[in-house]
């Protein structure tokens, strides 16, 4: 595999970059690994949740008396058991409202009550005995419909933020965002060709195979323990403690093995409910979601409606780019539209660019992060227009992208200026790749797309303890979702100079380590990895000091090389090297145990880019699409364990394939989800796919000692667009809505057949004819925009120019930190609706808020 670097002084590694077996591997291939639902406790009760059958309803009364009297029922909880202790923290209040409905049920599946009973039968019977008096209200599930005047309003408390003056009437639009620089209108005036299109994407679910599960145990002394599958057990601890009024120190949370998350396990759903039941029953309570509950009541990602307009000169240079993105994130604020707007044009070097985002609430489950939240949909829209523009100016799409690609020194569309980045190398590598040159078959089309993701650092704490036999116990606080323990062991071994199998990494519980942010934002290999390296360096400092002590020379006169302490030079003395094991063996006599620690808030997560190439075959008679060939080229900075880097590339690509072709939340007119199961929510199966070829590029991230960049999320950004471009090429008609399911494709083909005049020559001219459908869509989009302008009132006017400029300046100020460290979404944190500049130049909101569903963090 070709591994490239733009930096000449590339470091040589001895352990990092190899492909050893993972430390948790044997447990996982023998069925011994313990996941969320695999734990039990003496006297354990079964917890079950009663959920709203209505998409939107006022809960007038809940009568639990009959359920409480049923033999075997030990506790029943409702909203009355969850008093508001959120102290004005709006994001936390949303979580409270989401885990147990308050005055209204806001979506089908919203929790209304819960029971703990001796067995599953009794729990099920008890749920039937709970009487809920609903007043059914009109509902809305579509993002464009929710923005219209007269749409049912979910919250009387939402007055659109981010616009001046603030609206006086509540609406479903929680906030307007704007990013960009330059003068877009002037840019379009200079354009020779402009393409404008409207796009829609349906909501998709992360689709992790393991349903949410936990085992809660709270005693009358207020002490509690929780076993849970989560991407962040510290987040679970802090959130649950705050919701339930517990001391953080009294709740110990242990992360089980986690059966997939992809962002969906970065917040809480059943955990506070299980704890409340356990506290009330004074017994352990186990809760496991059914698959139907996972679909209806966890956090899928947003459905979207996006307009993109890009202008280009005849020579292929883009003069202006503009987008309006509307994302619904379910019943509460916090759709990932901010990231969508920030990332939409991040791949391009643009003089005039603007992206406006609207965060919209609807009667759907509260969204949670899904792998590069918000970015894939934006990339789908932008990269579709890019492909079309390239063809219109007569350039190969790859050359068009190369000509306009962002590079080192480019001012990004969301503010910061890029350091060394890997977009051009992935494009150039793609151009040379055999896939790019291979012929394509009948009914096939080739598409490509680029993708970008910010990546994240975050709060991290690592402990590294040396055992007296020279082995190393490494404690990390970020749940291992895809092999990160192997990567941590590799980095610790590399730094200490010992073999990989001498290091054993564990994910420590919340009482054993300082706070760690959740495993998200592609941060773990970067941030926990860097903390591991720095903890190892801390240990090395102590090891060399012990050697110095043993030799009776100054500590500064000892160096560490290949796993041993050595005198720094001949002046220091002539001692044979002391290995880590030898020093560790004497630790008891030289001052006690030796350990390294590191705790920090990691900065410098390098942004990441990818280019994907895909061949798709479309059956013109049925609209069935087959992915024939797929290649991922992505910059990893440094691939610590290349097999698992490839795995991230492949997994992201395949989730993207599912999103592009078949996955969607399907709602009936009643606002109920019609496909809450793996039968009709169609994630790709093994026989749907070809091998996914991967090319790892290594453009070191200057913010990490080994050059590591996060790799987990970028891989899901290009597929939607790449496949849309391939399918559009194969079908001869541009597809502008996802999923491109067979009925959608066949209908598009039929429309173009109907639009074609008899006798129109085949080929390019017929394709021009086929573009009728998208143009028709545009007309509708125009209507939508007018309606929205009426609906949103002043919202349509957006930020005033000085505000926008101030915001753009503050975005550009921090070049290194591509994402802010803290969320700043909640009004309680003094952020909502206030220009970012007022808060020390941080970009308002952040990956934390979107990824952790607004988990509690100290205010800025």
């Amino acid at each position: 595999m070709p591994l490239d670097s733009t930096l000449p002084n590339k470091r040589e590694f001895s352990v990092v970059g190899t492909r050893p077996n993972r430390p948790d591997g044997v447990d996982k291939v023998t069925g011994r690994a313990r996941f969320g639902a695999d734990a039990s406790a003496p006297g354990m009760l079964v917890g079950r949740i009663l959920r709203s059958p209505h998409a939107h309803a006022r809960i007038k009364k809940i009568d639990t008396s009959k359920a409480e009297k049923l033999a075997g029922v030990k506790a029943v909880v409702t909203r009355a058991d969850f008093p508001d202790q959120t102290n004005g923290d709006a994001a936390l209040f949303d979580i409270l409202y989401n885990i147990m409905a308050r005055e209204k049920a806001l979506y089908e599946g919203h929790a209304v009550a819960a029971v703990a009973a001796a067995d599953a039968h009794t729990a099920r019977e008890a749920l039937k005995l709970i009487k809920v008096d609903y007043e059914v209200l009109p509902h809305v599930t579509d993002v464009d419909e929710a923005m219209k005047p007269g749409a049912p309003v979910l919250h009387s408390t939402i007055f659109t933020d981010g616009i001046e003056p603030k609206p006086k009437k509540p609406s479903n639009i929680t906030r307007r965002y704007e990013f960009g620089h330059g003068d877009v209108a002037a840019g379009f005036k200079r354009a020779d060709i402009i393409v404008e299109r409207s796009f829609k994407t349906e909501a998709t679910h992360q689709g992790y195979i393991e349903p949410h599960a936990c085992l809660a145990n709270v005693g009358p002394d207020g002490q509690g323990e929780l076993w849970v599958c989560t991407q962040g057990h510290f987040m679970v601890r802090d959130t649950c403690a705050r919701l339930l009024g517990m001391d953080i120190s009294k709740l110990r949370v242990t992360a089980s093995e986690i059966g997939g998350g992809f962002g969906g396990k970065t917040t809480v759903f059943i955990e506070p409910v299980a704890l409340a039941l356990s506290r009330k029953a004074n017994r352990p309570v186990k809760m496991v979601m059914s698959r139907e509950e996972v679909f209806k009541a966890t956090g899928p990602t947003a459905s979207t409606s996006i307009d993109v307009k890009i202008g280009v000169r005849k020579d292929g240079r883009i003069t202006a780019a503009d987008a309006t993105l509307r994302y619904q994130g379910g019943a509460f604020a916090g759709s990932p539209v901010e990231f969508g707007a920030m990332s939409a044009f991040a791949c391009y070097d643009l003089e005039n660019v603007r992206a406006i985002g609207y965060d919209v609430v609807t009667n759907r489950p509260k969204q949670a992060a899904y792998r590069a939240p918000g970015a894939p949909m934006a990339a789908f829209a932008v990269e579709s227009v890019i492909e079309e523009l390239a063809k219109k100016v007569g350039m190969a799409p790859i050359d068009f992208r190369i000509k306009n690609a962002a590079r080192e020194g480019t001012r990004s569309s969301y503010g910061p200026t890029y350091g060394p980045i890997g977009l051009l190398p992935t494009l150039e590598k793609a151009k040379q790749h055999p896939h790019f040159k291979a012929p394509i078959g009948r009914n096939q089309g080739r598409g490509m797309a680029c993708g970008f993701w910010f990546n994240f650092g975050g709060q991290t704490c690592v402990s590294l303890n040396l055992n007296n036999d020279g082995t190393v116990a490494l404690s990390v606080g970020t749940p291992d979702i895809g092999g990160s323990r192997a990567s941590m062991c590799l980095m610790a071994a590399e730094e200490l100079g010992i073999p990989y199998d001498k290091v054993r990494a564990v994910v420590a519980d919340t009482s054993s380590l300082g706070y760690n942010d959740v495993t998200d934002g592609s941060r773990t290999t970067f941030a926990t990895g860097m903390a591991t390296i720095l903890a190892a360096r801390d240990a090395i400092k102590k090891l060399t000091a012990r050697a110095a002590q043993i030799w009776g020379i100054p500590a500064e006169a000892v160096t560490w090389e290949k796993g041993s302490a050595k005198p720094a030079g001949s002046n220091a003395g002539n001692f044979p090297p002391l290995s880590l094991a030898e020093i560790a063996a004497q630790a008891g006599a030289t001052g006690g145990p030796i350990a390294g620690h590191h705790e920090y808030s990691a900065d410098g997560a390098g942004v990441s880019f990818a280019t994907h190439i895909v061949d798709a075959e479309v059956d013109p008679e049925t609209g069935a699409t087959k992915i024939v060939r797929y290649t991922v080229l992505q910059d990893a900075g440094k691939a610590v364990h290349p097999s698992y880097v490839e795995g991230q590339f492949q997994g992201g690509a395949v989730q993207g394939i599912g999103w592009a072709l078949n996955e969607e939340y399907i709602y009936g007119k009643d606002g109920r989800l019609q496909n809450a199961g793996f039968l009709d929510y169609r994630i790709p199966v093994c026989s749907d796919l070809p091998m996914i070829d991967t090319v790892i590029l290594e453009i070191p991230n200057p913010g990490h000692p080994y050059g590591v960049r996060g790799v987990g999320e970028t891989s899901i950004v290009p597929p939607l667009a790449a496949i849309a471009n391939a399918v559009s090429a194969a079908a001869g008609v541009r597809l502008t809505s996802l999923p491109m399911s067979p009925p959608t494709i066949l209908a598009a083909l039929d429309r173009t057949m109907a639009a074609e005049e008899p006798g129109t020559p085949a080929g390019e001219s017929s394709r021009m004819g086929l573009a009728v459908a998208p143009y028709r869509r545009q007309g509708r989009a125009g209507d939508r925009r007018r309606q929205r302008a009426r609906a949103a009132g002043p919202a349509g006017r957006g930020l005033s120019r000085p505000q926008a400029a101030a915001r753009a300046r503050c975005l550009g100020r921090d070049r290194r930190r591509h994402l802010p460290r803290r969320p700043a979404r909640a009004p309680a944190q003094g952020q909502r609706g206030v220009p970012a500049a007022a808060h020390g130049g941080r970009v308002s909101s952040a990956i934390r808020a979107a990824c952790a569903g607004g988990s509690p963090h100290p205010p800025c």
Partner: protein
């Protein structure tokens, strides 16, 4: 809830007839357990028929094949003689669910579940299969298309159960095929299914045909007009066009989460054409 495992079909019929609550028959269980799990049904009695010898065997008889009600999809696929005689039926049955489901699912269950989208049913209808029904009043044999009445509802009376399915002897120069459309390559419910069975004469002219459609109406359809389009032809392009048109015309589908009306109508014709071509080739036609 009670669970019974009778040893004879008569005992089974008696148990079903005598149950005052809701009684369900368990063969493969791949539909019943899902419906129990999701709360759609709450049985008072489950009668597992797998200990009844007659339900477990595939027999070759003078008039064709007798396939026991509890014979699994995997067992059908492993029966070389049956596969040779009725490849379309076996392929259809083998399309139900995954390998895991194949280890349990049965054609009789597929029929009695009465889903319009059942994969094996259009193939059985096209093949002219019959169901042997046993009840308190004895045995009766009916064409399979008379079993499903509406989605989830059959013509079986209280106490009745299907013991076996009869497939006729394969006539000379005949062939059958089943094709379905699904969005993925596996694990989906048919959006459209088409079963075609044809018999040719020595010159390759179609003398007999049966065409059946699934997932385009409340029950699986037998489409005589589609058969008529083939009979008397060499199953050539014109005949296939007429077949496709007849199939599309017979569709009475709905829009649902799996497909639109328009899609089903169109694809029914496309698949009928493709299935007929396979059946013709299997019958020795060119």
């Amino acid at each position: 809830m009670r669970f019974e495992r009778p040893e004879t079909i008569k005992q089974a019929a008696q148990m079903l007839a005598g149950e005052k609550g809701k009684a369900f028959i368990l063969a493969g269980g791949t539909d019943l357990l899902v419906r129990m799990r999701t709360g759609f049904v709450e049985p008072d009695l489950i009668v597992d028929i797998k200990r009844i010898a007659a339900t477990r065997a595939i027999e070759t008889t003078a008039s064709g094949f007798r396939i026991g009600a509890a014979v699994t999809g995997a067992e059908l696929g492993e029966h070389a003689k049956l596969k040779k005689a009725w490849p379309g039926v076996v392929e259809a049955a083998n399309l139900i669910g995954s390998k895991q489901v194949q280890g349990r699912c049965t054609m009789t269950g597929n029929l009695c579940n009465a889903s319009p989208a059942a994969d094996s049913v259009p193939a059985l209808v096209a093949a002219g299969a019959k169901a042997v029904i046993v009840g308190p009043k004895g045995k009766r044999t009916v064409p399979v298309e008379q079993v499903p009445m509406a989605p989830g509802r059959t013509s079986l009376k209280k106490g009745e159960l299907i013991e076996s399915i009869l497939l006729p002897k394969r006539p000379a120069r005949s062939g059958d095929a089943y094709l379905r459309f699904i969005p993925r390559t596996e694990m989906d419910i048919a959006v459209v299914g088409v079963g075609v069975s044809v018999t040719l004469d020595a010159k390759g002219v179609c003398t007999d045909a049966r065409v059946s459609l699934g997932a385009v109406a409340p029950t699986v359809l037998l489409v005589p007009a589609a058969a008529k389009a083939l009979i008397g032809t060499k199953v050539d392009k014109a005949a296939l066009d007429a077949l496709a048109a007849a199939c599309s015309a017979a569709c009475r589908p709905i829009d649902d989460k799996r497909g639109t009306r328009e899609f089903r109508v169109k694809v029914a014709g496309v698949l009928a054409r493709r299935a007929a071509e396979i059946a013709r080739k299997r019958a020795g036609g060119k």
